[in-house]
């Protein structure tokens, strides 16, 4: 059986990749994907703990996160499309005004 620490390290790496991408990438879609990456890094640690301790709540929580992530992806992508239509750019640095 794969030891818990492996999962956790992988989870940390995924999360760190997400954070890094979130911070350094300009393309809003990449930023968005980085957020998904962070969420999944966390999900991985949840399921790892759940498997380790044979507790169901970790698994249940992951489903919740997935549902929220799906809803967020829907809304987020819709916003991205709206932004692109109005600004004609996906560069977050240039989307710095709430008003047109």
């Amino acid at each position: 059986m794969v030891p818990l620490s492996y999962y956790l390290v992988l989870s940390g790496i995924l999360f760190a990749c997400g954070v890094t991408g979130f911070l350094i990438k300009r393309n809003i879609i990449t930023v968005f994907m980085s957020i998904e990456l962070m969420l999944n890094g966390v999900n991985l640690s949840f399921v790892a703990f759940a498997a380790q301790w044979h507790a169901l709540s970790g698994q249940v929580f992951v489903f919740f996160v997935m549902v929220v992530a799906a809803a967020e992806a829907t809304v987020g992508l819709a916003i991205i499309i709206a932004v692109y239509r109005t600004r004609e750019t996906l560069n977050v640095d240039r989307i710095n005004l709430l008003k047109l």
Binding site: V19, F22, L23, V92, D93, N96
Partner: protein
Amino acid sequence: MTPNLYLWLIPVLPLVGASINGLFGKRFSRQIVLAIALGFSGAAFVMALWIAAQFSSLALPHVEFLASWIRAGDFQVDFAFYLDQLSLVMLLVVTGVGLLIHIYAVGYMWEEGGFYRFFCYLNLFMFFMLTLVLAGNYLLMFIGWEGVGLASYLLVGFWFTKDSAASAGKKAFIVNRIGDFGFLIALFLMIKHFGSLNFAQVFRIVSSMPAETAGAGLLTAIGLLLMVGAAGKSAQIPLYVWLPDAMEGPTPVSALIHAATMVTAGVYMVARSHVVFDRAPQALMVVAIIGTLTALFAATIGVCQTDIKKVLAYSTISQLGYMFMACGVAAYSAGIFHLMTHAFFKGLLFLAAGSVIHAVGGEQDMRKMGGLRHYIPWTFWTMTAATFAISGFPPFAGFFSKDAILWKAFSSPYGSWVYWAIGVFTAFLTSFYMFRLWFLTFFGEYRGEAAGNHGDEHIQVINSRAVAPAPHEHGHGGIHESPKIMLIPLVILAVLSVCGGWIGAERFDKFLSPTLHAGVTAYSPEEVTAATPAPEPKEQRGSESLFTAISVLAAASGLVLAWLFYQRRPQLPQEIAHALGGFYEAVVHKYYVDEIYAAVFVKPLINGSTRILWQGVDRDVIDATLDNSAEGAREVSDAMRHMQSGNLRSYAGWIAAGAAVVIAYMVWTGTR
């Protein structure tokens, strides 16, 4: 049921006058201003007379309650007025002499600017002085006490555009504050230990206490602190320095406040508190010593002054010293008797001096006067009466009171021949400097600017503006007698100076005895035998008249010596001054007391305030704390400002960094 005397009206009447004149006087003509001022102070005098008329039918002490003022648990202070023999005497002196001086001031101040302001202050003074005299408890007395100080400040600095007058006013106020401090502490002690400030209650409690033999008792402390207050108000050593400077005020003010009434408040207060002093022999001794020393000390200074008002000022200090000497040997009635006669003749002396100054166009230096008796005969004769009175010649008023004091200083159980000897020597000095003033002013040749025209019927003091830079300069020509309105008070006071003493010290003592011996007789009979001397044996009576003869002799020798020095051989004073050398210099410079005070108290205070309090504490600590913290806040914000970049990504970075720190911390603590 005692009749209601409406005592509160007496002080309030002048207050009404002061308010009307103070608020609207600027728009009134002089006639209306003076009608208001004289009307209200006259009304107070009439009320005082009315009370005196029905005095014999009153149950004394008569206490009137007007309103309650402070209530804190058991402690209670009321607006209450207290009338007994002592306050009646003070009441009549204050309202009577006050009214006369009001009348005089009309003539004296007629051409001055701020006429309404002057009378507003004068009435205000009357209000506070009458409050002081009639108060039924120490706190109300203190109100009056402070108020007369305020009025004194306002009136001394009446010519406030003159620097010396303004600073003399400040000096008077500040020196008085030092005394007030002692008075206040005494009041606090009373509140703490007696739980009351009402005269009746305090005296009842004190009467039940035994006389203190050791020096450190409560009553001694209270007595000494009261004496500190009295020394400030009544210009005794070491707080007398303000009174000579206070002569910067208009002369009627000097007469009213700094001779007749306010400065005697300390004597009144000591006599009023005699129950305390009777039981604190040490405090009493201090009072006597201070009084005696002041009497001598001020008299010696008075001998060398050349300003006519300054001579009178030091004379006042010296006479007040007599009063304290009397109080200090428990002869309170003699002190109050002298207070009364002194109010007459010293008030008169000041008014007459004012008339002289008026006559010569504002000159106050006696060396520039002389020979005035031909030009201002009324002033001359009234002043002569006052001079003989203060010097203690029989049958003038001063003789009776001074003689009573000197005799008591010797014969009282608290007395000593030392007090008596100094007292007699002071009486000699008094007579000497008063006759010096008298000869210099009224005899010989006129030494002023117009000396060339001497003998001419119409002396014209040419350009009196140049002669007299003094502010109360009347712009008149020639030496001339004062108007009638100034002379009438002079004459009345002269009559009083002559006859005022004929009551006799013993009858006066008997009149005051219910007040002044009450504490002794009513509450501790065994002490009476100890404290009051048995009826004097025959030979003592004989020695009393011997003592009287000695003091009259002292006064006469003062007169003769002054005549010799300033009339017969005018060069003699120079020679003697020369022979005395350094001592004479010291006396002329008033023993350098002002300089010593300046060096010992004022300078260090100013330096301390400047260096430590201002530059050290205020600027370097308080200001610096505020300034530096403000500066620090700004620097910190300057640094922090850069975090608020508005850049979304940098915020995210901060969040990530913070999260990393938190996690690192948790891991670190978890692994330990």
